[in-house]
């Protein structure tokens, strides 16, 4: 469903980024980068509100003619950005949420690994498999 999935660290550098059409990757990287501004805007708008599940999911960040960008932020300010193709039949919000939840679960699994230092790039095979499963659902 997703064409590009990215995990951005707290300091706004990418921990993991992967897109399905391997050509034109740069376009997606650029999109993710610009979406970070929107994410930051949304985070600051929340202010000191209580953090709960709803607020972790940021929703649609911005749509373009080709695709839509969704965002999700964890409690440790790690951001997940997902780019989905607009041509797909509109993915329901719940589906996007469930995808983010799976991402979050896999990310916590990666963090649990003591050999993973927070801030490193993510090389976990399990994480890769999960992302692949999410991205290959359409293609």
């Amino acid at each position: 469903m997703a064409v590009c999935i990215a995990v951005i660290a707290k300091e706004n550098y990418p921990l993991y980024i992967r897109s399905i059409p391997t050509e034109n990757e740069l376009k997606f990287h650029y999109t993710v980068h610009t979406s970070l501004d929107v994410v930051d805007e949304k985070i600051s708008a929340m202010g000191k509100a209580l953090v709960d599940q709803r607020e972790l999911y940021l929703g649609l960040l911005y749509p373009t003619e080709d695709y839509k960008v969704y965002g999700y932020v964890t409690n440790s300010k790690v951001k997940f950005v997902m780019v989905v193709d607009s041509s797909n039949t509109a993915l329901r919000d719940n589906e996007i949420r469930s995808m983010f939840r799976k991402l979050h679960n896999s990310y916590t699994d990666v963090m649990c690994n003591p050999f993973y230092n927070p801030g490193d790039c993510i090389h976990s095979r399990a994480f890769d498999n999960m992302v692949t499963s999410m991205m290959m659902q359409v293609c």
Binding site: V51, D109, C112, N113, P114, F115, H123, S124, R125, A126
Partner: protein
């Protein structure tokens, strides 16, 4: 390749190199190996062998480096700058000469020589030549799993060297020629290099001996990718860090842990964490496994494989699995992508406690969804921990096991397993009963868990770790475990149907109407019965207003002060009512206070009190309803009272406990 180019090319190099048929076959196949994508024949640089591949191949011949240099010079590659077919063949012949112990000279290759031997070439060579395979089979007597045996023998390969029938492996593990085995290069290459100098004389003599036997076929070169493994160098390096293993009889599966290995792992576990049922934390395990000097990404992958419940800590079976993977990896086995079945924690636990279990049963363990497997494994883990440590928080854990039993899994094994283990675990009959009851009850039954949690509040630390990790996004898993561990021993008192602080009259009325509607059926008789408890409550209620009344308060002086507060709070709503009917109510309450007089008697007392008129009858009815409502309200409030008082007591207790804790924690300063 046909022999034409071979001979012609050799001639082109200025040498008349007689190549036998087998030699030509071998050389051509090696050449094609080294320049795989290139076309055959020709003289242009295109068919030249790739320098790196050639280099690897030559190193695989296990000749010392200077010999190889000599060979390359002699064959003309240095001169022409590339390894054409001619140069390559000459080089191979020179290698053969060197391996047979002849000096590296052009003259030496004029004679008939055995084929050069290379260690650990690609498998595709085997594929191409069937005769090679069978020879290979003859020579290569160590099947794949028994390599593990080698890895754990202290130093048996010395004996192996001497056996002519033993596979003609040189004692050192050689670097692989094929770049595909990248994983083994960093591991084994170093060893190969370090030992090549030492072992060369042995190797040469050994191979010379073998060369007389092996005139046919390139036997030595064709080993499986896992063959050139495992020798004294590796086992010694292992022993530096870990105790060496006794010889073990291995089944076919390299991922199976033998008893000696298991004992070793358990000892290592104990060295890190004395309690066998507890966990090794991530950082401790990281330090320990880093000592194995495997690269961090591989260790990370091993951790991913072995920590099935992804909690950042290793239980004993998880630790054994991780250790085993590390050992296997050090011996050159590529890491699997998924955890082999024999390394699953539940398998390992069963194997450890039921060694006679049939393997087929365990094969039926379908590797179901990871989540369910995690919970299943984890429950089994908990079961095992329960078994070993009787002082552990059994009831709570067994409750989880009950849930797993209820789930439709591989039931055949689970039931006998569970029953056997629970029997072992529970010497206490009560707990056995508890298990049976919990097994029968619905897992979602709340009460048993509460009872169980009562017992386990004391052993919070174990409970915390034994909890399966829950996925919650508002808090971390540890927090969840904490929350569950701190579950109050008793359920909080059920909130009253009515609102606690009856600040608004309407709500009270609504509630009373509701209750009245509910209780309308039995309203008339109850006023006779309840007066006694009610009296005590109503006494208090009315006492605050009507001080000069009965002195029954002293009976409840204990609760009088808090209840007074409660009553005072509830006074405002009731006052308007009372004020309305004050005249009548006061009379009524006065009469209610008398314990002996029933309310019904008060009613007739009320009746003659009022003028027998329509208005009075209406008023009477109104009064009666009011009385009923008041009584009900009183009853409700009294109940509420008692519950709030209980809560208050509990809160007081908690507060005292917290204060004492604070006192203990506060440093002795600031005065």
């Amino acid at each position: 390749m046909d022999p034409g180019p071979g001979g012609a090319a050799a001639g082109g190099a200025g040498l008349l190199l007689p190549l036998s048929d087998t030699e030509q076959q071998r050389y051509s196949e090696l050449f094609s190996l080294c320049c795989s994508p290139a076309p055959e024949g020709g003289s242009a640089p295109a068919p030249a062998a790739g320098g790196s591949k050639v280099g690897d191949l030559f190193r695989a011949s296990q000749l010392p480096a200077d010999t190889l240099h000599q060979i390359t010079e002699l064959c003309g590659a240095k001169r022409v700058g590339y390894f054409g077919p001619a140069q390559f063949y000459v080089a191979l012949k020179l290698i053969a000469a060197a391996q047979s112990g002849l000096p590296v000279r052009i003259e030496s290759i004029k004679s008939e020589l055995p084929l050069p031997r290379f260690m650990a070439l690609k498998n595709d060579i085997e594929m191409r030549y069937g005769n090679v395979a069978e020879i290979h089979g003859v020579k290569f007597q160590l099947p794949h799993p028994t390599l593990e045996k080698n890895s754990f023998k202290r130093s048996d390969e010395g004996d192996k060297k001497q056996e002519t029938k033993s596979p003609p492996m040189s004692p050192m593990c050689s670097p692989p020629a094929s770049p595909s085995n990248y994983q083994r290069i960093p591991l084994s290459y170093g060893y190969g290099k370090s030992r090549s100098g030492l072992e060369q004389p042995h190797g040469v003599s050994y191979e010379a001996r073998h060369s007389t036997h092996q005139q046919d076929g390139p036997a030595t070169g064709n080993y499986g990718s896992k063959s050139a493994l495992v020798h004294s160098s590796l086992s010694r390096s292992l022993s530096v860090e870990r105790e060496p293993q006794d010889s073990s009889n291995y089944p076919d599966d390299p991922w199976r842990i033998t008893e000696e290995q298991r004992e070793y792992y358990i000892n290592q576990f104990k060295s890190l964490q004395p309690d066998l049922n507890s966990f090794i934390s991530g950082s401790v395990a990281k330090n320990f496994f880093t000592k194995s000097k495997l690269p961090i990404p591989e260790l990370s992958h091993i951790w991913e494989l072995s920590d099935v419940d992804c909690d950042g800590a290793l239980t004993l079976p998880e630790f054994c699995a991780a250790f085993h993977l590390i050992v296997a990896r050090k011996n050159g086995y590529p890491l699997p992508d998924t955890l082999p079945e024999t390394l699953l924690p539940d398998y390992l636990q069963q194997a450890s406690f039921k060694p006679k279990r049939d393997c087929t049963l365990l094969d039926s363990y379908s590797e179901s969804l990871p989540v369910s497997q995690q919970t299943r494994d984890f429950n089994r883990t908990e079961l095992e921990t329960v078994r070993e440590d009787p002082t552990n928080s059994e009831p709570l854990i067994l409750f989880d096991v009950a849930t797993s039993v209820v789930e439709p899994k591989t039931s055949v094994e689970e039931m006998p397993d569970k029953s056997a283990l629970t029997q072992d675990a529970n010497s206490d009959d009560n707990q056995a009963l508890n298990i049976s009851t919990t097994a029968k009850t619905i897992p979602k039954d709340f009460k048993p868990s509460q009872h169980l949690s009562v017992k386990t509040v004391v052993q919070e630390s174990n409970t915390l770790k034994a909890r399966p990790r829950s996925r919650s996004y508002s808090s971390t898993s540890i927090e969840d475990a904490m929350k569950k561990g701190e579950e109050p021993p008793m359920p909080p008192p059920r909130p009253q149907k009515s609102h606690s602080r009856a600040s608004s009259l309407d709500l009270n009325k609504i509630f009373q109407q509701n209750t009245q509607a509910v209780k309308s059926g039995w309203l008339p008789p109850p006023p006779a019965l309840p007066p006694r408890p009610f009296v005590s409550q109503t006494e208090q209620v009315s006492e605050m207003e009507l001080h000069p009344q009965m002195n029954r308060a002293p009976s409840q002086t204990e609760e009088s002060s808090p209840t007074r507060k409660e009553i005072l709070l509830t006074q405002p709503p009731s006052k308007p009512i009372r004020r309305k009917f004050r005249s009548e109510n006061q009379m009524l309450e006065n009469q209610e206070l008398t314990p002996t007089s029933s309310v019904t008697s008060s009613l007739p007392a009320v009746k003659p009190h009022l003028p027998a008129q329509k208005q009075s009858s209406k008023q009477k009815r109104a009064i009666q309803t009011a009385i009923r409502k008041n009584k009900e309200a009183n009853a409700v409030l009294a109940r509420l009272n008692s519950e709030l008082q209980q809560q208050l007591k509990e809160v007081h207790k908690e507060r005292i406990a917290l204060e004492t804790q604070l006192e203990q924690l506060r440093p002795v300063t600031v005065l």
